[in-house]
């Protein structure tokens, strides 16, 4: 059989950013993959330099639709470090609370998509239905399902009322039961396991060498979690577990993410039980004194890092953002080698949960005859579904 090349993307929203994957195949087996980024490069780092510090927070909120709170917390922490602002304890607890709610809805979204890509649509429907529970709770607190706008430099913008706390407790009761159910289903159901076990595998050494972060690294046995290793917000005071697995495949990734949903629920309960009283923000100066700082944050997908420099003005001098997906891309390329075409959708879905279900095209080109066949994504999924 002749070699084939399958371009997946760039107009292929398997990731939150359109990316171009070019798979070189030998028969059914992927020989190599080339990845090209930048299709939604919006110049946010540069744009921050033309905005005031507070305006930059709102722009940074929009880097990602899923982990918006991660980015603003990371940015605000860096600015607060430069300005020497002491964030009130209640604000730090609320930041952690929203961060864990964000992690739960991100992981549930991932679980549903993973289910969808392996043909287990019931899991997709269930996981996304239950994700609404956490989104409703976020909306009750912040007024928004995504891009909550909770952070400001020096603290948070909205307080939790007693009613919010009560509503969150009932949401937690539902989620706790459902998380247990998903753990049973996803990790015991034989067809689901069959599609994930051994697929998209990286070793622990590869994970370290390729700079992998977050659940992708933890699934390969790398025991790293910034909430424990570089505590920020309220994590220095909260007991929780770091979930790791050994195998480095997608089943391990599912195990880690499901375990993390349960840990996030535990953290939320602890925060609600121990929420300190007091102010939720300190006043931040309009001009930030000269200086630079680096802030790190354990986003749902891994280490988010922001470098911020001020020259003493009312605008940032430089904002540098490295989101976790960029760090994980090398590992993705590595884990694609030697997999079957049938597993491409689940590996793509397995690495990043941001996924908008618009129309997708795949072009198959026979190298020798030059014959080109254009398939819709659903057709490809159907053709290669095992």
């Amino acid at each position: 059989m002749s070699d084939m090349e399958i371009p997946v993307g760039p107009q292929h929203p398997a990731l939150k950013e359109p990316e171009s994957f070019r798979f070189e195949l030998e028969g059914e087996i992927v020989k190599s993959v080339d990845i090209r980024l930048g299709y939604v490069h919006r110049g946010i780092e540069r744009a921050c330099q033309d905005r005031t510090w507070i305006q930059a927070v709102y722009l940074i909120e929009r880097i990602c639709g899923i982990c918006s709170h991660s980015h603003t917390t990371c940015f605000c922490q860096a600015v607060e470090d430069i300005a020497g602002l002491e964030v009130p304890r209640r604000a730090r607890y609320i930041r952690s609370l929203i961060g864990e709610m964000e992690r739960i809805h991100s992981h549930l979204l991932w679980l549903g998509l993973a289910g969808h890509e392996v043909g287990f649509d019931t899991l997709f429907m269930y996981a996304w239905r239950d994700r609404e529970v956490i989104l409703d709770a976020l909306e009750a607190i912040s007024g928004n399902r995504v891009n909550y706008g909770m952070n400001t430099i020096g603290g948070v913008r909205r307080d939790l009322s007693d009613r919010d706390v009560e509503e969150l407790r009932s949401a937690i009761r539902i989620l706790e039961e459902r998380a247990g159910y998903y753990t049973d289903i996803a990790l015991e159901e034989s067809t689901f396991r069959g599609r994930l076990e051994g697929v998209g595998k990286i070793t622990k050494q590869q994970a370290i060498d390729l700079g992998t972060v977050g659940p992708t690294a933890r699934a390969a046995g790398v025991n790293v979690d910034l909430r424990r290793d570089d505590p920020y917000a309220a994590y220095g005071e909260i007991p929780f577990n770091v979930v790791t697995a050994e195998d480095g495949d997608l089943l391990a990734a599912a195990q880690v993410r499901l375990g993390e949903i349960r840990e996030s629920i535990r953290i939320m309960k602890y925060i609600l039980d121990n929420l300190p009283d007091g102010p939720i923000a300190v006043k931040a100066p309009r001009r930030i004194p000269p200086g630079e700082a680096c802030s790190r944050y354990e986003a749902p997908r891994g280490e988010d890092i922001h470098y911020v420099r001020s020259s003493g003005g009312d605008k940032p001098d430089r904002v540098k953002v490295r989101a976790p997906t960029l760090a994980n891309l090398n590992a993705v390329a590595e884990s694609m080698k030697g997999v079957r075409v049938a597993d491409i959708p689940i590996i793509i879905a397995g690495i990043d949960p941001c996924f908008s279900c618009t129309d997708r095209l795949v072009r198959l080109q026979d190298r020798t005859s030059g014959r080109v066949e254009v398939l819709r994504w659903q057709d490809l999924s159907r053709r290669y579904r095992r």
């Binding site: 371009p7 760039p10 171009s20 080339d34 990845i35 090209r36 980024l37 930048g38 299709y39 490069h41 780092e45 540069r46 033309d50 607060e80 470090d81 020497g84 602002l85 002491e86 964030v87 304890r89 730090r92 753990t183 990790l187 015991e188 370290i208 060498d209 390729l210 700079g211 790398v222 025991n223 790293v224 290793d229 505590p231 917000a233 220095g236 005071e237 909260i238 007991p239 929780f240 577990n241 770091v242 979930v243 790791t244 697995a245 050994e246 089943l251 391990a252 195990q255 375990g259 680096c294 790190r296 280490e303 890092i305 470098y307 430089r318 540098k320 490295r322 760090a327 891309l329 090398n330």
Partner: protein, 211 residues
């Protein structure tokens, strides 16, 4: 803790709700909620014993490379060094700390120089090493062969600041489109917003190889 090879068997553990071959859970004990660790206000002087000790060991490991300590903060070490020694430093450190994690590489234009800052993690501490490059011809050796993840960060810096990385066989664009005008670097102080009208064009056909 059992390994994942045993996944197919084993009843659920009552304690965790996971199959017995499930993930490993390492516990973070409850700590006393007294001293906020992340922020250091003007009056707050945290103990920096571990960071100072790590700085000493890094300095001892890299003699003669011109490493200089700028400042030490909680879980942050800021250093600077001459740009010619960056490869030597990373090969040495990677030999001593095999789990060295390069978080990212920041580049910035200060107006009088191009600064390149390598942020990497040693023993849970973020070490930032600053290189100062000539703004006319910013060039530094690649570390992509020592730390594969650096490939993406170097390509990004080349795109936005025009930093050249010698030793790479090519530096294809990562974040900017393929038809972006050569020599126009958006994060340079000299770059004016809105000056260039660059369509994204059809870049999908030019997949690039990884170094």
């Amino acid at each position: 803790m059992s390994t994942c090879n045993e996944r197919t068997q084993g009843p659920e553990s009552q304690a965790t709700g996971f199959p017995s071959a499930g993930p490993t859970i390492s516990s973070v004990p409850e700590r006393s909620p007294v001293v906020p660790e992340t922020n250091s206000g003007p009056d707050h002087k945290p103990a920096l014993g571990a960071e100072e000790d790590l700085t000493r060991r890094v300095m001892d490991a890299c003699p003669g490379l011109g490493l200089a300590v700028e400042r030490i903060r909680p879980r942050r070490i800021w250093m600077s060094m001459p740009s010619r020694n960056v490869r030597a430093m990373f090969s040495t450190l990677k030999g001593i700390w095999p789990d060295l994690h390069l978080s990212t590489i920041t580049g910035l234009d200060t107006g009088s120089a191009i600064e390149v800052i390598y942020h990497f993690v040693l023993e849970k501490t973020l070490v930032s090493v600053r290189l100062t490059l000539d703004p006319e011809y910013p060039e530094v050796d690649t570390v992509g062969d020592i730390l594969p993840v650096a490939d993406a960060y170097e390509r990004e810096l080349h795109d936005v600041l025009g930093v050249r990385f010698s030793g790479r066989h090519s530096t294809p664009p990562l974040v900017l489109p393929d038809n972006w005008p050569e020599g126009y670097y958006p994060l340079r102080k000299s770059a004016k917003g809105g000056e260039k009208d660059v369509g994204h064009g059809d870049t999908g056909g030019t997949a690039t190889s990884r170094a």
